[in-house]
């Protein structure tokens, strides 16, 4: 039974504070359209406080809301310096240029973001404490955390956030994926701790896009943000739990505890980072005790640590996946029946077990990973059916189908391509493999030619390309599947799909998002421009003396709560 005070508080909130989006959310909860976990995810994303979430759950008869921020587990022993092994940054560690795993993992130790997409897929407050959209989700207002200090002692205000965001979207050579959503004029301060984003179009999940999954969006002091390229030289000043003491390019870095960290004093005294050029050296160093914690490893590399009492093995399901794209506009794969037939040859559970040693989840030829709250779980899973594949090929007049699958020598790509080749052979399809060097696969062909129309990864008949984890499928949809997408390697053009994608992107309500993703998934199963046969877990390992470490799907190494036994 609810007391009168709780009811009054909810009614007051709905009347005075909640906008249409928040009220829809509450209506969906009351109507039983989403469970407790989903409500927590959505509520956090729309900026409802933890207290209000708990009250609302109690209102519909659920238990109180679980704490949203990361909590430490087990006894915490203070002190000690952790030795972390990271991939050597391939490029600069400047936020606006971040591109590779090693660089973003390193930058993410002293640097932090406005929001954080946690391992459960929940977008939680971080440097921003709350946010609120307008009625059509085109304007988002963020309230910043008060009392946050940069490593140089300066207090973080809206001026720093605005300057950082302007750098990412205003700099021509910026790598940040935020420019499609707002431009430099679209971000402004509305008070010392309030930042307003005016978006180019409605985005129902905008807070996710400012989390660490857009790894360039680190909040820097305004003085550094105004001078792109000065962040590392200036000591990588951020707000994170550890601050830089020494950095030897490609070799090592030393960080010490930030005693003024807003999230509480971290247990560790410091972090010693060693950069590794190859993972095999990192694995050996972990085995020999020269590092305590490694960043992402392949399932094969991590295998010796699994079930070994001296080590802890981590496998975090993520939305990272490979896209086997087939040209839908020309050539031998133009007929959707042919593409469907190819997809039907694959035994996905077997493929996942063999290539990724089971560290992942089976895909269904769409980017809607089951961990996304917008994914409709009722979509039927595609399974291997070689007989149907042969029938489809016959109907399409492509019984002796031959094509070349192009990819590059990276991670599991060669094995993955070989498995597609082997499965296709069962249906009489001949797949030739073209395994390139990365610099060729991702360059124009010939060098200097128009990039978009010549680069192999966007123009070959069939390609296999890697995509990193995201908290929401927005980037995959807008850039890989929509007609206007600049990474649309299958050249898929479907106006109905585009319209559904736009509906999804602008819909703050979960029900509308799910409805759209279900219909999009149906179209993708029918047209099969892309085969997404598996999603990949983030796999790594640490020494068993590392306590309270929680991996993160993008490769960030979060050490604020970590301690050493």
């Amino acid at each position: 039974m609810l007391d009168r005070e709780t009811t009054r508080r909810i009614e007051q909130y709905r009347r005075n504070e909640a906008g249409p989006i928040e009220n829809n959310l509450i209506d969906e909860l009351v109507a039983g359209e989403m469970d407790r976990t989903e409500f927590l995810r959505r509520g956090a994303m729309f900026g409802l406080s933890a207290g209000m979430l708990g009250t609302l759950l109690a209102y519909v008869g659920e238990a109180g809301a679980a704490p949203l921020a990361q909590t430490s587990r087990g006894a915490v022993k203070a002190g000690g310096t952790i030795k972390v092994g990271l991939a050597a940054p391939a490029g600069p560690v400047e936020p606006y240029l971040l591109n590779d795993g090693g660089a973003l993992a390193f930058a993410g130790i002293p640097g932090e973001y406005l929001t954080f997409t946690n391992p459960q897929g929940v977008c939680v407050p971080w440097l921003a404490t709350s946010w609120k959209p307008n009625k059509d989700a085109t304007v988002w207002t963020f309230q910043l955390r008060k009392g946050v200090k940069f490593h140089n002692g300066q207090t973080m205000t809206s001026k720093d956030v605005v300057a950082s965001m302007k750098q990412y979207v205003g700099n021509k050579s910026s790598n940040a994926g935020l420019s499609p959503y707002f431009d430099a004029a679209g971000v402004s301060a509305a008070g010392p701790y309030t930042v307003v984003f005016k978006l180019k179009s409605a985005i129902g999940v905008f807070p996710y896009l400012l989390s660490q999954t857009t790894y360039q969006a680190i909040i820097q002091p305004a003085s550094f943000a105004a001078k792109p390229g000065e962040w590392v030289k200036g000591g990588m000043i951020g707000t994170g739990p550890f601050k830089l003491k020494d950095y030897q390019e490609k070799r090592s870095a030393q960080l010490v505890r930030n005693d003024a960290y807003w999230g509480g004093k971290p247990p560790l005294d410091g972090v010693n980072v060693t950069f590794f050029a190859i993972n095999s050296a990192l694995v050996l160093a972990l085995r020999a005790g020269q590092v305590d914690l490694a960043m992402q490893l392949s399932p094969q590399e991590a295998q010796p640590f699994k079930g070994n009492s001296k080590f802890t093995y981590y496998a975090l399901p993520t939305a990272a996946h490979r896209q086997f794209c087939m040209r839908s506009d020309e050539g031998v794969l133009k007929d959707p029946r042919v593409r469907r037939a190819i997809a039907l040859t694959i035994n996905r559970p077997q493929q996942l077990a063999k290539i990724m040693l089971g560290a992942g989840q089976v895909g269904n030829d769409n980017p809607f990973w089951r961990g996304f709250q917008s994914t409709d779980r009722s979509i039927k899973q595609r399974t291997q059916d070689v007989t149907l594949a042969k029938e489809l090929l016959k109907a399409a007049g492509a019984e002796n189908l031959k094509f070349t699958l192009t990819t590059w020598n990276f991670l599991d790509h060669a094995d993955h391509a070989a498995s597609i080749q082997a499965y296709a052979r069962d249906a009489g399809i001949t797949v030739n493999l073209e395994i390139m060097d990365g610099s060729k696969y991702y360059d124009s062909e010939p060098a200097g030619a128009d990039y978009a129309s010549t680069t192999p990864w966007l123009n070959r008949t069939a390609t296999l390309t890697e995509y990193g984890a995201r908290g929401v499928p927005n980037v995959y949809l807008t850039r890989c599947y929509m007609s206007t997408g600049d990474w649309n390697a299958s050249h898929y053009k479907n106006t109905e799909f585009d319209s559904l994608a736009k509906t999804y992107l602008g819909a703050p309500e979960l029900a509308a998002q799910r409805k759209a993703t279900k219909r999009m998934a149906g179209l993708l199963l029918r047209d099969t421009p892309v085969v997404t046969d598996y999603f990949i877990s983030y796999v790594t390992a640490s020494s068993s003396k590392v306590k309270n470490y929680v991996p993160e799907g993008i490769s960030h190494v979060r050490l604020a709560k970590v301690s050493l036994a």
Binding site: N99, E249, F275, L284, A288, S439, D443
Partner: protein, 317 residues
């Protein structure tokens, strides 16, 4: 002698100029570009173009070379495009590291290999000779990657005697640095042992079979004196030339060993510059390694001349 040295230095300068031109010319046929390499495959073409323009990487190779060469004349090796720091700031520490590893490897490898070759030559055709020859050949045929991992597993992971990586803590002393360099040095020793020992062995066999060695024996000199005074002095001359070439390799050609032991030497730095099309860094790196090669070769030639009177007298005739 002075004229000879000046002539060799002149030739070396011409070689270095040609080397730098070749590096720039060859880079034009390599795929990839700096902007794409920095921003990654998924950056927009506009961002890549903007970065290339900002870095000056969109200019023709000829203009870039001209720019780099005019800086070099004034003592400036250029600025790394991908790291945005003077090339020497990266090359200096890397070269210092490479020298450290080369010295440790040299100190272990050369005496061991020469000793192995001498013993094999003295025990020609016997089990000791065959064991040394076969073991040396087997190790030489094995990739450094395999021997390196084997040594790491045995000495670092299982026995725990030596560190896995060759990266010591900041401010470590000479003894600690030496300890960290032992495993990569042993790996290089296994790679080079067979080659150097085989050359020494062949020279030893030839010298032992020579008329002057026979005469010395017939004169009644003890075998140890014959070997020390007559055989070794002649047999080691070809070894000097071979060792000199290996020093160049030890300083500038150790990409695999450096990567495996996570050691920041000049070999892996040049490899990465080539991969990222960082032309100023690549060319400066190649130039530095070229200077090391040419210097070592010149020193070896001079040493050869000092040890071999026939060459000395031949040059003055």
């Amino acid at each position: 002698m002075a004229r000879y040295i000046l002539k060799r230095i002149g030739l070396a300068l011409i070689t270095l100029v040609l080397l730098s031109m070749i590096v720039f010319a060859v880079s034009t046929i390599l795929p990839g570009n700096v902007g794409r390499s920095v921003l990654g495959p998924f950056a927009t073409q506009e961002s890549v173009d903007a970065l290339n323009e900002q870095l000056g990487a969109n200019r023709s190779v000829f203009v870039q070379y001209q720019d780099w060469a005019s800086g070099l004349v004034q003592g400036d090796l250029g600025t790394s495009l991908t790291k945005n720091v003077p090339a020497w700031d990266l090359l200096g520490p890397a070269l210092s590291n490479s020298f450290k590893l080369a010295i440790v490897a040299f100190l272990i490898c050369v005496p061991l290999s020469i000793l192995g070759g001498i013993i094999a030559g003295l025990r020609y055709g016997k089990a000791t000779d065959k064991s040394i020859t076969i073991a040396g050949l087997s190790f030489s045929a094995m990739p450094e990657f395999v021997t390196g991992i084997f040594l790491i597993l045995v000495f670092a992971v299982w026995l725990g005697w030596l560190p896995v990586t060759a990266q010591w803590e900041q401010g470590a002393g000479v003894a600690t640095q030496f300890k960290y360099l032992l495993l990569p040095a042993f790996t290089l020793t296994l790679v080079l042992f067979g080659y150097i020992a085989r050359i020494t062995r062949a020279s030893m066999i030839e010298a032992l079979d020579s008329d002057y060695a026979r005469t010395a024996h017939l004169k009644g000199l003890p075998a140890s004196v014959v070997v020390r005074r007559h055989v070794l002095r002649n047999a080691l001359l070809p070894t000097i030339a071979v060792v000199a070439v290996q020093i160049g390799y030890l300083v500038g050609g150790l990409v695999v060993v450096e990567v495996l032991f996570n050691y920041q030497g000049i070999g892996s730095l040049i490899y990465e510059a080539a991969r990222q099309k960082d032309l100023p860094l690549l060319t400066a790196g190649v130039l530095v390694v070229g200077i090391v090669y040419l210097t070592v070769t010149l020193v070896a030639d001079l040493l050869y001349a000092v040890l071999n009177p026939r060459i000395r007298f031949g040059s003055t005739e």
